[in-house]
Amino acid sequence: MATLPHTPDKGDFETAATTKSSTSTRTPKTAPRVRRDKVTSHDSFLNYGNGRWWKIAIVIAVVSFATYFLIDVEPRHNGGSWYGYTMGTIGFALILWLTLLGVRKRAMTPGRWSLKAWTSAHVYLGLSLIVIGTLHTGFQLGWNVHTLAWALMMLVILSGLFGIYVYATLPKALSANRYDEDGAITEKVMIEQMKQLDRQIHDAAQPLDPEAATIVERSLGENVFAGSFWQRARNSYPGDLTRIAMGELRKLRNFRPRTDDDPFERVETLLSKKEALLAKLRRHLQLKSWLQAWLYIHVPATFALIAALSAHVFSVFFYW
């Protein structure tokens, strides 16, 4: 997407979408340019500030590697050399700062220290932690609390990396799923549509005989959000009651004489509509579960990491 450079300080109009700093009070001196090509100013946190943070992260990694190989540690690199302690201290401070995103994200502010800037820094400094933390170990790994801390750190980083991956790829699928011929529907609308459909099914099923009514009743009673985490993540719901209801109803209908205004047919049509809506809802749930699941590893592992890190540092000084 080609974009004109946007320079509010030179007088370009600012909108909520283009503003970098909502506190700019400078009066435009030149005639404002009118921007027609601007579709969106959305700048992902991955590329915030023209990629400032990934550049910084690369510099950190390069410097870390260079010093690792240039600095002579006898008899070999390990966490207990001055270089090891330096890397360890930097890593520890970095981990605490990265954890603070959980606090910081609850307050959104614009500008240089905007949440987006923080997130960008969080992502790239977090990735550079792979280098810092691993060089801190001097590649001496074993079955101990020190390596546990390293492993948890890697788990946190890799789960975060996975989070970035799903954030980068799934929202598109999420939107695509929510769009239909009438435009996008929200989560609330989805459930409203479901309510509506259920009421229609309920009304249409009134003339049915007790056997068929029971079948339909089961579909209505089904919790549309039911299913384990794995069912959600895999979008696989064997024994779905709506599906079974449709099947059984069709079986019953096969043995009935055809009539013009057949309530079975009406119910069946409505049930297949419900099934389609359910599929959309469940696809939505699947995508959302992937978008959220990594955090259920990322966050608890972070706290386990901080605990392991504390034990690690404590043990070093205890058995000094």
Binding site: V73, T214, A304, S310, F318, Y319
Partner: protein, 626 residues
Amino acid sequence: MSFLVRQIALKASGDEIVRAKRVDGDEMKIGRDGACGLHLPDLAVDPEHALVTQLDETHIEIESLHGQPFEVDGQSVQRKELDVTLGSELKFGSHRIKLGQDARSRFPTFTVRREAPLSHSNSDPDTNEAYTLKGLVPGKRMSAWAFAAMVLLAFLAWPIWSYASYSDLALKKDAARPAGYHGDKAWESGKLSLAHQGLENDCQSCHVEPFVAVRDNACQTCHTKVHDHIKDTARLVAARGEPGGFASFTRAVATTFNKPAGRCVECHTEHEGAGDMAPTAQKFCTDCHAEMKSRLPDTKLPDAADFGTSHPQLRPTVIADTTDAAKPKLRQIVWSQDAKEFNGLKFTHAQHLSTVNGVAQMVRRRPNEFPDQEGLDCENCHQTDASGVWFKPVVMEESCQTCHSLTFDKIGGTFRTLRHGEPEMVVADLRGFFAAGAPTRPINLDSMSRRVPGDRAAAETAGDYARAVRFYPTQAGQAIQMLFNKGGACFDCHNITRTGTAATAGYNVQNVVQTQRYYHKGWFTHAKHTKYECVDCHVKAQNTNDATDLLVPGLDGKGGCRDCHVGGTGAKLASASVKQPVESQCAMCHDYHLDDKAPWMTRLPASRRASYDRRRNAGAGQNASK
């Protein structure tokens, strides 16, 4: 009779809407079918579910029509007679029906309410949570606390407890914790070296006190015989001088965190993995010794740096006094070309090594004992000990006596010999010899006279006694006097004084002590120098007949170490002419923990030597890149 039916529905606002109707007749059907008097739009209810019959003014009967049960006051029934004045609660599907009696008309009343929503979606699920994973996976907060707590328990609390339970075993040599896993093993950053494998389970044996870095006393619990480089650690640290630049920063940090300098573990690092202990770091000797005088003004050690250019003159330990033969007085002197040492023995090295004099002639006359020899060789008298490092003391009976015979008499075919090393016996034997009235003739004990070596010479000597009988005194006193004075057998080799007792006729033979090792602070091994001739280094042996000349080579001069040995990087003095330079670092001769053995570097078995060299060289490569 009639029935009153009140249907109650809820508005969105929560208000109730009541729709009442009257159903005439004595019977009323309850069912999903719209034709039923009490119509329940409920899929769980049969189209015609039950029939209500009025029995009398106050009693009704409800009976299921198609065998589908319903609930009365919580009980599932097919048929039930009820007293309307008492009231009752019926349940059909999701509908609850309150039975009563209208106060005015006395008709039975049915108040109908839908209890459950008609579908799950209509139960208004909390969409804020339903779309999240809440309830499906353990909550983030909960698992965060749980994991953190587990980690702290297993890796902090348990190890501390393990330490606390056994801390009293510290500094006790053979005290060990019971076998099995101990919590603080999780803190072990790497396996101990094989040498310390036995301590693997006993963290407290080195980590004596919490938050106190490992101190030397822990090492010394077992290592009781290691020679300190210097006893006083403070002086050791002082000799290193004040670290400058970055080193002073790291020193300051270490001090802040209670890590004093000069501890064993500074060089002997552990937890680097099972295997040989990591080679000690190359702390350069010259870091301290090059300019030590400036940092430790009272040191007796001269400054030393590169061997090729700035090593102090060697300081051999020589004999000062042999009065106590078992423990002679020694003193350290600075080596020089004309350094002297008298060990009690007169010996003419040049004369004995000559190839053209009488000594050489005697050697050539005895080809069986000295095959293919032009004259005496060093090894005819000097033999290395089993290690090959040093030389065994020369023994008179083995080396000298073959020429310098002490025979004084012949009885039958047996030669009588003066007892070497026992002057009292010598005197007693001679007195006895003369006192016994045996041949009162003088004996020829001039061992310096030329003669054919071997037994034949001894026989000749005996013959000489007989021939000389009329020229020599016939008294024991005279014989003894000749023996111990110039020209006599004892006097020729030994230093004789007149301080002896009556038992030795007043003569005293000075003890002879042979120095086996001249250089005690540095290591020298003859075994590594076998491809050279002795006189290549012991140059003076060929050209001095003065027994007091010190024959051990020094640093410089012909035969000095620097003839071959140059500095660690090949440096040498301009004055030195070196044909085959041997690059020599400090560790070739010196050991940090000095003992009687070869430096650690040179005494490794070949198998370990290779691995040690490899690791050292890898370290050297890193040094170079710095």
